[in-house]
Amino acid sequence: MHCMAGLDRPTSGQTFVGEEDIGSLDDAGLTQLRRDRIGFVFQSFNLIPTLTAAENITLPAALAGARVNREWLDYLVEQLGIGDRLTHRPSELSGGQQQRVACARALINKPDLVFADEPTGNLDSNASADLLAFLRQSVTELGQSIVMVTHDPRGAAYADRVIFLADGTVVGELEQPTADSVLEKMRTLGA
């Protein structure tokens, strides 16, 4: 996933985002790619602790020197229900709130693709459900593409398509999964 997201370079093979071979991009190219075309949500939230929630969300835009799309920001904040937390620092937010801020940050530049690496790994089940519902909603309503890595069959069930990986190789695939079918598939693969 690091290679796909332009964080690392493949030692062999190629990685594409859209039509672009990102393995051949230089550092400046990768930086721009990450800034403009890719969003990230991490298991560990990875917010900048010294910035407020609002400042964290607008950071990618600020780095690009671009004007923040006010309406889009308001929409994200409203959808995520973090309007009253914007002036707080990450240490003053709950895990679920932090992860929602991270989601807003990932979406603020309207990226082509959002990578979510175990986004619910550090959340309780309620917060997980809220977050996954939001991600699902942004796919359905906004047409946002999301790649999510997860161990949780219930989380995987929110996706349109599930690819099973074991020890680094693709071992299976499911379309329109449910929690049960994912679990079932995992059981057969594990066996």
């Binding site: 930086t31 721009q32 900048i48």
Partner: protein, 863 residues
């Protein structure tokens, strides 16, 4: 949780404050030096302007040797005064003489000025011309009267009507104080003492009967000044010139500012040393900060920060730290200058203008150097920050790998060797700037190489500590070995400080020994009579007084004066030639001392070599009074600092100098201690003199060297202090970095005392590591310095092992001092809070690293 955050924030402020302190101190030093010397410069300009403000022209002898205020000029015949007064357009003209006159206190001690002149002048009754005006009593009217400057009168409790003894180049005399005088509003002339007599008295006691030094002229109101000057010039005989008062002021001012520029250059050198050491501290702090912020910086890269933005963010932080601390330093510099001014006042040097001069240049240089050093020191760490890959935010792998270490060692070696070569060339030339650049090269190069030896060396240094202190000592030792690069970087600052201290100590010991041995090799006299402070003059009546003492078998008079040889100014030494071998040892390499009696010139071996002279050659010389002639080289003696480079016999010397100044007196006695006492007693009327045995004289020479060395150490102490701040800083950062580890140690039963011991051991190892490398380099530099000065009379090379060991021990103790705060802090860490910090990071899913719990604040605003 909140508590941990607050502690983290406090720690952050502290870290920046400590980093800034290094720059603050350096810039304080720079701006203090500038403000002080600018203020002194301005003071003298104002002072000279005041003194000469009423004078339109000055008639004086043409410069015979040198130029400007320091030139040697011949006296004018007194009859010239009438000639000048007759020139149309001249309203008033007054002749003046000046020379050496030193007051004696009421309890019989010569009044010392600490370097300022002790002046005797003629009092000018015409207030049209002189700026010296009487504030109590009246002008001197008889040959018995003297006017004293208000500064001396105040400091030594003299009042009008009292008697005062005054020392001259001739015999001393006692006068009655008729008045107390001021210059404008100042009590004295920047620390100089002044005795003003009637003109005839001044001419008599200053040995200028029938002569004048200058004639000061005031033009009539309305007269055309250029025309008056032209008319005066026409009336003057050859060898006499007339210049404007402004010319005289300019000459005096530039002579003073030249002298001051030596002073300020010396101070600035130490200021730059401090800043250089500060640069190491900053480099180290920023390296650690970047290391600790690896994840944060990587995260910024993930969300789209470019390398340039990361680079700039680190440099911007450095620039802000530099700017703020330079500004503070500038302010403190003014305070420092005020303090120095107060110190000068304590020495009796009153400055007529009270206001400090704060030139724009002071601000510009202070800010430029302060910010410059900080930013340059941060470039390295900033480049490391740029190399952090974005993935570093996601996994725990350590960034800033050692991939570049080979290149670093190559660079370090190149820099150190290049620096050594430059230093050697610079010393040989001599070119001070090259020496400085070379030394910087060596220090930076060695600092880059130091990580290679940091691990084994700390291991060796730490072994006895581990043995004595047990487990905490062992842990401290391991901590110091854990990150060789950090250990080396932290120790580097101390290394520079101690290298300079060690170099100065080798230099000082060698100078001391050389001075002692040059006394042994040059002087066989039993007693040496010289002026106590090195200033002032030996009265011409002293040789007769001394040689009349029973038991004194040989008296050798030593004269010193300026002359020109092969068109350059040099000091000429002369000695009386009878029984010279009794008092002075001349180790001849060619020719014979007998040539002195024949009016020939002896030169020392160094001069002979550098000027390619040998016995029998003739050299062109010029004397102020008698003009040009040629001298035959009659012999060559081994170079000796006490004798100087050019030596002639007294009869020859006296035929060229009508007012010879006595340098010293060398006496051979029958060896009895009673004679020493008798000589001292006989010379009691000359309290400015000291009578020393050869051993005492040697001691005094050594004491002089040690005094200067002490001053240099004091100035270097600032650099060492800054290095210590660096150690405190690193230890503080380490303690915070290891919060979890220390918490765990405490949890498994380590006592607070043991935590303190652990941190202290680490500090002592760090300090001794830096000290060892520094002392090795410094000793090398000192030896190089000494060997380059062989021709200047530093013939012996001494490595003062005991002093160096003392420095090493002191460094260890200073390390202990530096550790006390971080150690207390580490010991105070709450076990639960320390582990809670860990728990929190785990909860937040940040992995096992405790670092992110203490992310620094306020450095993320990139856009």
């Amino acid at each position: 949780m909140r508590n941990v955050t607050i502690k983290g924030l406090l720690a952050h402020k502290l870290r920046l404050a400590l980093t800034a302190l290094a720059i603050v101190l350096g810039v304080t030093f720079i701006s203090g030096t500038f403000v002080l010397t600018d203020t002194l410069n301005n003071t003298f300009t104002v002072l000279f302007g005041n003194i000469y403000q009423k004078i339109d022209f000055q008639v004086r002898g043409v410069a015979q040797l040198g130029s400007g205020a320091n030139a040697t000029r011949n006296e004018l015949p007194e009859s010239l005064l009438a000639t000048v007064r007759r020139v149309p357009g001249v309203q008033a003209a007054q002749g003046e003489v000046g020379g050496y006159a030193q007051f004696v206190t009421q309890d019989g001690k010569a009044i010392q000025t600490g370097g300022a002149p002790t002046l005797g002048v003629s009092f000018d009754p015409d207030q049209q011309i002189s700026d010296l005006h009487i504030i109590a009593g009246g002008p001197p009217v008889t040959s018995d009267g003297v006017v004293m400057d208000a500064g001396t009168a105040q400091k030594y409790d003299f009042t009008v009507g009292q008697r005062v003894r005054i020392l001259f180049a001739g015999p001393p005399r006692t006068f009655t104080i008729t008045g107390i005088a001021q210059f404008g509003s100042a009590n004295n002339l920047a620390g100089a003492t002044l005795a003003a007599f009637t003109l005839p008295t001044a001419q008599a006691v200053l040995q200028e009967v029938g002569h004048l030094d200058n004639i000061n002229v005031v033009a009539a109101p309305g007269a055309s000044k250029p025309a008056v000057q032209r008319d005066i010039a026409r009336a003057l005989p050859p060898g006499v010139e007339v210049v404007t008062g402004q010319t005289v002021v300019n000459e005096q001012t530039s002579s003073v500012s030249q002298a001051l520029s030596f002073f300020s250059t010396a101070l600035l050198v130490f200021a730059f040393i401090s800043l250089f050491v500060g640069g190491f501290t900053i480099f180290n702090t920023f390296s650690i900060i970047v290391g600790q912020r690896t994840r944060e910086l990587a995260l910024l890269r993930i969300v789209g920060a470019s390398r340039r933005q990361v680079f700039r963010s680190v440099l911007a932080e450095a620039a802000i730290v530099g700017l703020v601390s330079s500004a503070i330093g500038l302010g403190l510099g003014v305070l420092a200058a005020l303090g120095l001014e107060a110190l000068l006042r304590g020495f009796g040097i009153t400055l007529p203008t009270g206001s400090l001069v704060f030139e724009p240049r002071t601000v510009l240089v202070g800010l430029a150097v302060g910010v410059g050093v900080t930013v340059v020191a941060a470039v390295g760490p900033a480049r490391n920050a740029v190399r952090i890959p974005p993935v570093a935010a996601l996994d725990d792998r350590q960034s800033g790998g050692d991939a570049s270490s080979r290149r670093r060692f190559a660079w370090g070696t190149a820099l150190a060797l290049g620096g050594a070569v430059m230093l050697a060339i610079g010393l040989a030339k001599p070119a001070i700037l090259l020496v400085g650049v070379g030394a910087v090269g060596i220090f930076v190069g060695v600092a880059m190489l130091a990580p290679a030896v940091a691990r084994p060396l700390s291991s060796v240094i730490g072994r006895p500590l581990a043995r004595v202190l047990g487990e905490p000592g062992k842990l401290g030792r391991e901590n110091s070995m854990r990150s060789p690069r950090r250990t080396a970087q932290t120790a580097s600052a101390l290394m520079v400080g101690l290298a300079l201290v060690a170099a100065m100590s080798v230099f000082g010991a060698s100078v001391s020994r050389s001075a002692t041995s040059s006394v042994d090799q040059a002087i066989s006299a039993d007693l040496i009579v010289s002026t106590a402070s090195g200033s002032g003059q030996l009265s011409q009546s002293v040789p007769a007084t001394a040689s009349a003492v029973p038991g004194v078998t040989t008296t050798t008079t030593v004269y010193r004066s300026q002359f020109e040889v092969q068109n350059s100014l040099a000091t000429l030494t002369a000695v009386s030639t009878q029984h010279l071998a009794d008092t002075l040892i001349l180790r001849m390499t060619a020719g014979s001392p007998a040539a002195l009696a024949q009016g020939e010139l002896l030169i020392d071996s160094t001069t002979a070599k550098s000027k390619h002279l040998s016995v029998g050659d003739t050299v062109p010389v010029k004397f102020a009074e008698t003009g040009s002639s040629a001298l035959r080289v009659g012999g060559i003696y081994e170079a000796n600092a006490l004798i100087g480079s050019y030596l002639v016999g007294a009869p020859f010397f006296l035929s060229h100098f009508s007012n010879p100044s006595l340098g010293a007196l060398l006496l051979r006695t029958n060896g009895s201690g009673a004679v020493d006492t008798a000589v001292t007693h006989a010379l009691a009327p000359y309290p400015n003199l000291q009578v020393q045995t050869r051993a005492q004289f040697e001691q005094a020479q050594t004491a002089n060297v040690n005094q200067i060395l002490g001053l240099v150490y004091a100035l270097l102490a600032l650099a060492v202090l800054i290095a210590l701040i660096g150690i405190v800083n690193t230890l503080m950062l380490s303690v915070f970095e290891r919060t979890r580890e220390i918490g765990l140690l405490r949890a498994v039963g380590m006592k607070r005392r043991q935590v303190r011991t652990m941190i202290r051991s680490e500090a002592v190892i760090l300090a001794i590591f830096g000290a060892i490398i520094g002392i090795i380099i410094g000793t090398g530099m000192g030896i190089a310095l000494v060997s380059s000065l062989k021709q200047q009379g530093i013939t012996d090379t001494v490595v003062p092992a005991s002093s160096l060991v003392i420095f090493l021990v002191l460094a260890g103790l200073l390390g202990l001092v530096a550790a006390s705060w971080p150690a207390r802090r580490a010991a105070r860490l709450d076990v639960l809070a320390a582990i809670a910090a860990e728990l929190r990071t785990c909860q937040a899913g940040l992995g096992a690293s405790p670092r992110l719990a203490r992310w620094p604040r306020g450095r993320c605003r990139l856009a």
